[in-house]
């Protein structure tokens, strides 16, 4: 696919002034097990525009998962604001699909039934559910595994199934909490290709992706924009725009350069945080 073929906006356009996701002065504190207040996110602001792919990158403890959970509506913020299409986020909803690191498939349902349940929950009629579920299974290369139980799949296939379940519901936003973090290198690469493809095809509504990761290469491969978070308490230290066409390969010159730059930046951050 050529650069010109990408119709997704790289910059907020006047008629799309409202960002898809907006985070303003976000602060999140939580009580640690020993009872002290720990600041996980310390005043973070950023926007994600319609159709954009953004990666939140940071060392562990930088609060990136907290930010994602707040955007998902699963956790509450301490101060600041988060909004979707300009409206404050007050809880979870099917407009924001979440890819969890550990694929959260329901173990009592077959793979296809997992997707059908998700469709049922957003009000898709009985007749349409089966076809739509199978379509998405096919799309992620799992058509032969529709009636298999999740535990019979490999870790990579479970992640695919989770991706299919998320996309079948045609969400506006896909939030990924290190969704490929626990996979082996081959499975991760396949999934990264898969995600690039479905994002670029944006079947249904244009999808906005926000992935949390500590994997620099993954971020450079997937993201239009990388937001780098500091060591705890997390705040934004860098924003890197990557103007390379998708699908990208890890050995693309631009991708490789971004990886080197960001890696250095992160190493300095980890050093600053000291031994943990």
């Amino acid at each position: 696919m050529s650069e010109a073929a990408r119709t997704l906006p790289r910059d907020p356009r006047p008629f799309e002034a409202t960002p898809k996701l907006s985070v303003r002065d976000l602060v999140s504190t939580r009580r640690s097990t020993s009872g002290e207040r720990v600041t996980a996110v310390d005043g973070v602001s950023f926007d994600v525009h319609v159709g954009e792919f953004v990666c939140l990158l940071g060392p562990s403890g930088s609060g990136k998962t907290s930010i994602l959970n707040i955007l998902a509506g699963l956790d509450v913020l301490t101060s600041g604001s988060v909004s979707l299409d300009g409206a404050p986020i007050t809880g979870p909803g099917p407009d924001r699909a979440v890819l969890f690191q550990e694929p959260a498939l329901f173990p009592w349902l077959s793979v296809v039934a997992n997707i059908e349940l998700a469709l049922r929950l957003i009000g898709v009629g009985t007749a349409e559910r089966g076809a739509r579920a199978r379509h998405w299974l096919e799309n992620v290369g799992l058509s032969g595994f529709a009636n298999v139980q999740p535990h019979e799949l490999s870790a990579g296939m479970r992640q695919r199934a989770q991706l299919a379940r998320a996309l079948a519901c045609d969400p506006d936003v896909v939030l990924g909490d290190e969704p490929f973090g626990a996979l082996d290198a081959q499975a991760r690469e396949l999934l990264q290709d898969e995600v690039q493809r479905v994002w670029a095809e944006h079947e249904g509504r244009p999808k906005t992706f926000l992935f949390v990761t500590h994997n620099v290469r993954e971020a450079a491969l997937l993201a239009d924009r990388i937001l780098v978070l500091s060591a705890a308490p997390g705040h934004l230290i860098e924003e890197i725009r990557i103007d390379a066409a998708h699908p990208r390969q890890l050995d693309d010159v631009l991708v490789a350069r971004v990886v080197t730059d960001v890696h250095e930046l992160l190493m300095r951050e980890v050093d600053k945080a000291g031994p943990s």
């Binding site: 998902a72 979870p92 909803g93 969890f100 173990p107 009592w108 349940l117 139980q149 535990h151 519901c169």
Partner: protein
């Protein structure tokens, strides 16, 4: 066939060994207090022919079914309530735990005072014996649902009641079935104990048959055997199978 041999072989060997030891002991003592397996078997056949054993077993099973159903209903209802509400949990759970720890048979004298030496007293003790464990199992099964599944359900758009219907109840099923199995054991024990003591109650159940057969040891042992077999069969054929099926489906069963 092979699978049946592998599965049933070892327990059958165990039973055969028990009968052998019993037979030798009976032959050595030759006392009326320990009849041989053959004598007990003919007492069993006699009891089957004249209808005492089937009638007693039927009566017992009716009582059991009713009490067990009540215990399940009560335990499920209270258990779900305790899982949902923290105040209820903190105020009522200790009482249920106390009930669970108290030997159920200790309630029998009170039950007799309240209901007389009747059917109702027997049923009361059986319910009190079984429902606390059902309650606690239901509560823990719901509370142990992995937070990840709840969160996944919520992000998929499941709200309040839907979250329970499609996520929390199905996720809690293995623990709930474990609770059923345990409650079945308690109900069976409580019912036998109550029947043994409340001899006057209505028609004769297996427990009462035991109590009446103290001067007829072969019949006593035959009735005891029937009690053992019913308990084991229900546990194995219904609850154990159900449990294995559910666990296998979810990949929770370690085979072998």
């Amino acid at each position: 066939m092979r699978k049946a041999v592998r599965e049933l072989g070892p327990p059958l060997v165990g039973i055969a060994g028990l009968i052998l030891v019993w037979w030798i002991a009976a032959a050595l003592t030759s006392s009326p207090a320990l009849p041989t397996p053959a004598t007990v078997w003919s007492a069993f056949l006699r009891g089957m022919r004249d209808g005492t054993i089937p009638e007693a077993a039927f009566k017992t099973l009716i009582r059991l079914l009713f009490s067990f159903a009540m215990a399940i209903a009560l335990g499920t209802l209270i258990g779900v309530g305790l899982a949902l509400n923290e105040f209820a949990r903190r105020s009522i759970r200790p009482l249920i735990v106390a009930l669970q720890i108290t030997p159920f048979i200790a309630w029998l004298p009170l039950a007799v005072v309240w209901f007389g030496a009747t059917e109702r007293a027997v049923v009361f003790v059986t319910i009190v014996g079984a429902f606390p464990s059902m309650t606690l199992a239901t509560m823990s099964a719901m509370r142990q649902v992995p937070p990840l599944l709840r969160r996944a359900g919520r992000t998929l758009g499941a709200e309040s009641w839907e979250l329970y219907r499609f996520v929390i109840f199905p996720a809690a099923l293995p623990g709930y079935v474990g609770g059923l199995q345990q409650a079945w054991g308690f109900a069976w024990k409580a019912l036998m104990a109550a029947e043994l003591i409340v001899v006057a109650a209505g028609r004769v159940g297996l427990g009462q048959l035991l109590a009446r057969s103290q001067d007829d040891v072969p019949t006593l042992l035959a009735a005891l055997g029937v009690i053992v077999v019913i308990g084991v069969l229900v546990d194995y054929l219904i609850f154990n199978r159900l449990d294995r099926r559910i666990r296998r489906r979810r990949g929770l069963l370690i085979e072998g």
